[in-house]
């Protein structure tokens, strides 16, 4: 019965394949055979012979606009974006005229920077570039910072290369340069960079970088000990501190500031440590020592004791204890007493 079923299935399969073979027949040359047995498809492209008329490739000629427009070297920012980048003080905190970030990321970063600006006395401006892009030689970042960020609220300006955070450079407003030591600036920057390197996604790298930079800007603000009103008031001069003068206190303050987020944990650890030390000390102070008891044969006629220990004389300063060692008379030594 089963073998019959198999036979029927095999026959039906064979018939269906034969029908399909008729429908999808193999392609054939128009004249029934290839033009030349030595012919190789595409070989004409590799030879110097001119292309046949029918298959000639027609390329579009460049337009007048394209001819007028100078060629942008690879890696350079296109001319048309330069004005948006460097033409004026940016209107928004995130400067991305090339649209390198996705819309959602752009909105999110922009919102974050606006929030930071509302909360902090120092603004944070971030210019976004492609990872291989070069800022034109005639544009100097320091000059841009000086030109646009000398007046008004002081700012930290970051030139960030998306996907390549290590190329990032940053500058601070001229009003802050005298007040914040270079070492402190470097620490802030390196800390932000470290945070960026914790992920590989360029958008997340930027997010982490900005978040950490914002935190460090806040710390700088705290270290300077100035409020928002003070810093935004151009009539008040920022305290100028020489690097040598500021090095040590700044370092201590920075270390303290680093510990601030872990204050509760540190306090708990200290309390536990003190409690443990106290418990150990208390236990040791009340520790009693018990010895095994052995039977000792009485000697020298002593009912309770015959353990003759040392004798020391303190009559003469010139006779130190070291010179009085081994002075017990032989007749009192234990070995001879037996």
């Amino acid at each position: 019965m089963i073998s019959t079923i198999f036979k029927i299935a095999a026959v039906s399969l064979f018939v269906s394949l034969a029908v399909r073979a008729d429908e999808d027949a193999m392609p054939a040359w128009p004249e029934g055979a290839p033009p030349d047995p030595d012919w190789i498809a595409g070989s004409i492209l590799l030879s110097d012979d001119p292309l046949p008329e029918d298959g000639a490739l027609i390329a579009e000629e460049p337009t007048a606009e394209e001819l007028a427009e100078p060629q942008t070297p690879p890696g350079m920012i296109h001319q048309k974006y330069l004005t948006a980048y460097f033409g004026e003080r940016p209107k928004s905190f995130l400067v991305d005229p090339q649209g390198l970030l996705s819309e959602a990321d752009q909105r999110s970063r922009e919102a974050f920077l606006s929030y930071h600006a509302a909360d902090s006395a120092i603004d944070l401006f971030v210019y976004i570039f492609g990872q291989d892009q070069q800022i034109p030689d005639d544009v100097r970042e320091e000059e841009i910072t000086e030109r646009f960020f000398t007046e008004g609220k002081p700012a930290v300006v970051v030139f960030y290369y998306l996907g390549m955070p290590q190329r990032t450079t940053f500058y601070i407003s001229p009003r802050l340069t005298g007040a914040v030591s270079y070492a402190e600036q470097r620490r802030a920057f390196e800390s932000a960079l470290m945070m960026a390197f914790q992920t590989v996604d360029p958008a997340k790298q930027l997010e982490a970088f900005m978040l950490q930079m914002s935190i460090r800007v806040y710390w700088i603000e705290q270290l300077l000990g100035i409020g928002e009103k003070q810093i935004s008031d151009p009539s008040i001069t920022m305290p100028v501190v020489s690097p040598a003068k500021v090095a040590k206190p700044n370092f201590i303050k920075t270390q303290i500031a680093l510990l601030v987020p872990y204050l509760w944990q540190i306090a708990a650890a200290v309390v536990v440590l003190i409690a443990c030390s106290g418990a150990i000390y208390w236990r040791r102070a009340r520790m009693t020592f018990c010895f095994p008891e052995f039977e000792v044969e009485p000697r020298l006629g002593g009912a309770h004791a015959a353990g003759i220990g040392a004798v020391i004389s303190f009559s003469n300063r010139a006779q130190p204890p070291a010179s009085q060692r081994n002075q017990v008379p032989d007749y009192l030594r234990r070995s001879l007493s037996r």
Partner: protein, 194 residues
């Protein structure tokens, strides 16, 4: 002991653990020394410390006097459960300017002359300057540290102290007993049989 009995008497002497016959200690100093002694007694409940000062004259007499005193003293402030075997007596003679230590049989395995000498050495500088109380406290503290070490050692290896008590002749017996008690392994027995 018979000689000493004939010199100092054969009757028991009643005295307290801290007896200052020479009047070396002031009241405040006495309290400090007593506190140190009390601390010692708490740490080592099996033992007690006694300090006795009196003028004897010669260093040799000090040694003999200490030996006689620990065998004849009846310490008022020591419980009856603790016999003099558990006592450590520091004797101090301001006349001969010497100090000596004697200890009971219970301490025999754990203390030796060298230990007591170290304890006295710690106090030497103080006694040289007439600071008797400070010297006594220093002596007590060092004695505590020595006994703590001995206690740890005794916990780890009590037989070490037992061997110290055994006469030289009996040491051979121990080795003999160990050898007798040793059972050869079954593998070795099989080899011998083959």
């Amino acid at each position: 002991m018979t000689d000493l009995d004939s010199r100092y008497g054969d009757e028991d002497v009643q005295l307290s653990c801290l007896t200052d016959r020479s009047g070396l200690l002031r009241n405040a100093e006495r309290d400090r020394v007593k506190a140190a002694m009390s601390c010692f007694n708490k740490r080592f409940p099996q033992f007690f410390l006694a300090i006795h000062t009196s003028s004897l004259g010669e260093i040799s007499q000090l040694r003999q006097f200490g030996f006689w005193l620990l065998n004849h003293a009846a310490f008022e402030d020591v419980s009856i459960e603790q016999p003099n075997e558990a006592g450590i007596l520091l004797t101090l003679d301001p006349e001969s300017r010497a100090a000596g230590v004697v200890f009971g049989y219970k301490l025999d395995p754990f203390l030796d002359e060298e230990d007591t000498f170290e304890c006295l050495s710690r106090a030497h500088a103080y006694w040289l300057e007439g600071r008797y109380a400070d010297g006594m406290i220093k002596f007590t503290q060092h004695l505590e540290s020595v006994l703590k070490k001995r206690c740890e050692h005794a916990r780890r290896d009590p037989e070490y102290f037992l061997r110290k008590l055994m006469p030289a002749g009996k040491m051979g017996d121990i080795v003999k007993r160990i050898r007798e008690g040793h059972q050869p392994s079954t593998k070795l027995l099989e080899k011998i049989e083959k």
